[in-house]
């Protein structure tokens, strides 16, 4: 830029200056792609910090693990249902007739170097994927994060759950062992039960009568291509919407509905979340290596006459198994036609469990005539009706889940199986309303206690005797005048321990509860001067003077 004052020989200027290469490359790229503004915006994106925001990350990272391990498995698995005779290294099955699918699954377990650890990692990652989706969903539901403007992302999440459910079911059906074949047989019965078109759907999908020779190759292409493609697309939209709409945050000092308080994405968040990815991956690897899952060689190849007691699907399918077990034997006959009893718990119930959650954000907004934008999360106790409704749904789900294993429970605890079924049937009707009532009362109680602390201060445990003989407990006021005119209730965590009040750190931190430690003095070492902009954050650091 200042070359006119000091002319430099031309030859020298052409010399390659290694130190300048990154800067020159960056400038060249920016001139062509105009990257600097969006890139800096990405660097500076602010992420709020709360332990519960990591639940979705677990789902994402187990999905990546699924893609990696699944690609390895696909190199060795053949979904063909052609009959072969086994000659692999697992001696007890030597010479047994089985499908190519089962044979290659056995080979993956015994004759492919490291195949078993990757197969087990794949299965564990699938279980973790579904579990983290569900817990992530709880978090979003109970904190009201699904409210406007995030209804669309909530709906995508519901679809991701059901896609993951199908993907998992197809996946564990592929090895064609005795257990998974039985699961497929039930799936065919479920399809058969659909009114009017059931038999057509089933024979078309199976290429004839169950099991035929078509079903596994068809499930395979859905399992490795169609559903993963849909999952990747929906996850991409899920993430893009999250970035576009920015994170929600819990209420706290300086946090308003129109800002995000946290740390910048680079470098802090990115390093932390990469470490978290590695930890999730590590746990899947440890489980895959150390904890056996789905030992298909024990079950043997599928045969229509083969079954054993204690047949259970993977845990995320178990609630539908439970609903099927609890359903009373009620076939409906319409003239010459039949609606089988199995139709209600396996087709209608999942249908309801898809549609109701999809519509829930709109139902709630409509009931409250709520059209506002919501970026501040609610603590579950502050919305007792929603929290109680969620507890009701969880109770319903848990009864079904337990009923999915009621034969094992009956066997291990020496209870009558029929009694377990009846307990499930009655529990399914009774447990949800009880859960609703208890949760509602607990929410109100927690709220009440927070309000008491805000109004009267923190209980100190110090009893003082007044001159007129009365005893009172000394309360340490949080703010206000300490005589019933305390701080306003805003749904933020309230300190409950003496001598730590008024000292909520600038961003409320902590794993399960805020760490209420003394606010640090103004950081003298900050390389910047205090902000000259909005002062609300500064002032709310000291709730009481």
């Amino acid at each position: 830029m200042t070359t006119n004052t000091a002319p430099v020989p031309k030859r020298k200027r052409r010399r390659l200056d290694l130190a300048q290469i990154p800067a020159n490359t960056a400038r060249g790229l920016d001139e062509r792609l105009q990257l600097s503004t969006p890139l800096r915006r990405a660097f500076n994106k602010v992420f709020p910090d709360h332990w519960s925001f990591q639940l979705g990350e677990i789902a994402l990272y187990s999905f990546i693990t699924l893609l990696l391990t699944g690609t390895f498995l696909a190199l060795f698995f053949d979904p063909s249902m052609a009959e072969v005779r086994y000659h692999g290294s697992y001696v007890p099955l030597q010479g047994v007739e089985m499908t190519k699918a089962y044979e290659t699954s056995l080979n993956l377990s015994f004759d492919v170097r490291g195949g078993l650890v990757l197969r087990q990692m794949h299965h564990w990652a699938a279980l973790l994927f579904m579990a983290s989706i569900i817990v992530h969903m709880f978090r979003v539901f109970f904190t009201g994060a699904f409210r406007k403007p995030r209804e669309l992302n909530w709906m995508i999440g519901v679809l991701l759950f059901w896609l993951g459910f199908l993907e998992g079911f197809f996946g564990y059906s592929l090895p064609d062992d005795a257990l998974s074949g039985t699961g497929l047989r039930i799936a065919s019965a479920i399809m058969l039960s659909i009114p009017v078109i059931g038999s057509w759907v089933t024979t078309s999908l199976f290429g004839g009568e169950f099991p035929g020779t078509e079903i596994l190759p068809r499930l395979y292409i859905m399992h490795v291509l169609l559903i993963p493609a849909l999952l990747v697309a929906l996850i991409a939209v899920h993430m893009a919407l999250m970035v576009k709409q920015k994170h929600t945050q819990f209420p706290g000092p300086g946090r308003t509905n129109s800002n995000v308080v946290g740390g910048r994405m680079f470098p802090g968040f990115v390093i932390k979340t990469s470490g978290f990815f590695m930890i999730v991956f590590a746990i899947i690897a440890l489980l895959g290596g150390l904890v056996q899952i789905n030992p298909i060689w024990v079950f043997g190849p599928y045969g229509a006459a083969v079954v054993s007691a204690g047949s259970q699907p993977d845990w995320y399918v178990m609630f539908l198994d439970g609903s099927t077990r609890l359903m009373p034997a009620w076939d409906i006959h319409l003239g010459p036609y039949t609606v089988p009893a199995i139709f209600w718990p396996t087709v209608v119930l999942p249908g309801l469990l898809t549609v109701l959650p999809l519509l829930y954000p709109f139902i709630e907004a409509r009931m409250h005539r709520d059209k506002a934008m919501h970026h501040l999360l609610q603590r579950p106790r502050d919305v007792p009706a929603r929290t109680a409704l969620g507890a009701m749904a969880i109770a319903f789900y848990c009864v079904l889940l337990i009923s999915g294993g009621n034969d094992v429970i009956a066997d291990k605890l020496d209870i009558s199986l029929n009694a377990m079924t009846w307990a499930g049937r009655i529990g399914l009707l009774l447990a949800p309303p009880i859960a609703y009532y208890i949760t509602y009362r607990v929410c109100l109680g927690l709220q009440q206690h927070d309000r008491e602390v805000l109004a009267h201060g923190v209980e100190t445990g110090i009893i003082r005797r007044l001159p007129d003989g009365r005893f009172i407990e000394v309360h340490q006021p949080l703010g206000g005048d300490g005589h019933g005119h305390g701080l306003e209730y805003v749904g933020a965590p309230v300190p409950k321990k003496m001598n730590r009040i008024g000292a909520v750190a600038p961003a409320v931190r902590g794993f399960f509860y805020p760490i209420e430690k003394g606010a640090p003095p103004r950081p003298p070492a900050a390389p910047i001067s205090p902000a000259s902009g909005p002062q609300e954050l500064e002032s709310s650091q000291q709730p009481h003077a």
Partner: protein
């Protein structure tokens, strides 16, 4: 580290990024400001560099990284040189998978911990506030965009060209059908073709019109003496491929009943015969032997757990229970129909099925013949 105010250009003049008075962090802050981000708190974790506490954290991170590398190396060494080909059951084969999982898991765990420790303990402590700008866009923007969209339709003039509009429907419908046809057409399979849902491997037509013999899974025929009293046996149709999944609806449970149970069953059959005139069912038994379809009428699992004391068949999938002394009537659980009975006979001392099942086997469906 901190910069003081009098060094900086006053905020009145336009921001000159080349102004040497700005420190690097001033530029960072300006960039953040332009992105709607305000860094309100920013402090190093260790204000005094090189303290013992800082060194301890540094050493911890370095140790975790080293361990991660060593375990990764151990994974590769074990993967290549572990004697995993030893016979199944030997320690070499047994420990291969745990060793791989342990070394890979430990390596990943340590690098994960190192990264998290690094971010939480060594990166500056910061609080940044980003403004949201997500109210609904200005109304005039909405109006301009929607008008442009409406104009798109006007530009095509499709509204005053009804002929083209109508003509467009034809390729739309045609191509739509053409797109769906290959998928539906190739997959579609009529369940009534050959009555695949009604017929099983016991159809005499599959055995050249002769009754199909009952065989074990190795195709050996069965004599009445082979099943002891109160015993049972899973049998298959004695036709080519009869024991394979090709005849997935054909497995049958052959039961040699106790005298009292057999009498109870005969009474039950006589009763249905009297009320419903279900003549063919009577012929189902042969002496004290009875054969029930193994395919549960609820969801198709093998209903094959035989409880000898109570003479019940239990399906392990959804716990339907069938009473063998009452024509396998469902007495508990979600199943609604009896297990079909196979008409038994003995020819030349071996069991045969005199005909196919008299009603459809397995789960119900919409158009299932329900007269039985």
């Amino acid at each position: 580290m901190s910069t003081t105010h009098h060094d900086q250009p006053s905020s009145a003049e336009p921001y000159d990024v080349d102004d040497p008075r700005y420190s690097r962090f001033d530029l960072v802050r300006e960039g953040a400001r332009r992105d709607g981000v305000q860094i309100v708190h920013y402090a190093p974790r260790f204000p005094v560099p090189g303290t013992k506490a800082e060194k301890r954290v540094e050493r911890a991170v370095a140790l975790q990284l080293t361990l991660s590398g060593l375990f990764a190396l151990a994974f590769v060494v074990a993967y290549i040189w572990w004697p995993w080909r030893d016979p199944i059951g030997s320690w070499g084969a047994n420990l291969y998978t745990p060793i791989l999982g342990l070394t890979l898991g430990a390596s990943l765990l340590f690098i994960g911990m190192a990264l998290v420790t690094f971010a939480k303990k060594l990166l500056p402590d910061e609080i940044a506030v980003q403004e949201r700008h997500d109210g609904s866009p200005p109304r005039d923007e909405q109006v301009l965009t929607s008008t442009t969209a409406l104009n798109l339709v006007d530009e095509t003039g499709i509204k005053r060209r009804p002929l083209i509009k109508l003509a467009f429907l034809l390729p739309a419908a045609g191509l739509g059908a053409a797109a769906v046809a290959p998928l539906v057409g190739s997959l579609l399979k009529n369940p009534n073709d050959g009555h695949i849902l009604l017929k099983t491997g016991w159809d005499p037509a599959l055995n050249g019109g002769k009754p199909v013999p009952l065989v074990r899974d190795d195709y050996t025929p069965i004599r009445p003496e082979d099943v002891s009293e109160n015993g049972q046996m899973t049998v298959f149709p004695g036709i080519p491929g009869g024991t394979t999944s090709t005849y997935g609806d054909s497995p049958v449970l052959l039961i040699h009943m106790r005298q009292s149970d057999a009498d109870a069953l005969r009474t039950s059959i006589a009763k249905s015969e009297a009320t419903h005139n279900e003549v063919p069912v009577v012929a189902g038994m042969w002496n004290n032997f009875v054969a029930y379809s193994k395919i549960c009428t609820h969801a198709g699992c093998p209903a094959s757990l035989y409880e000898k004391e109570t003479s019940r068949l239990l399906c392990p999938c959804h716990q339907s229970q069938f009473l063998t002394t009452d024509q396998a009537r469902p007495i508990f659980g979600p199943a609604t129909r009896k297990l079909p009975m196979l008409p038994l006979d003995v020819q030349d001392g071996h069991f045969v099925a005199r005909s196919d099942f008299l009603e459809p086997v397995g789960p119900a469906y919409w158009e299932r013949p329900s007269q039985l």
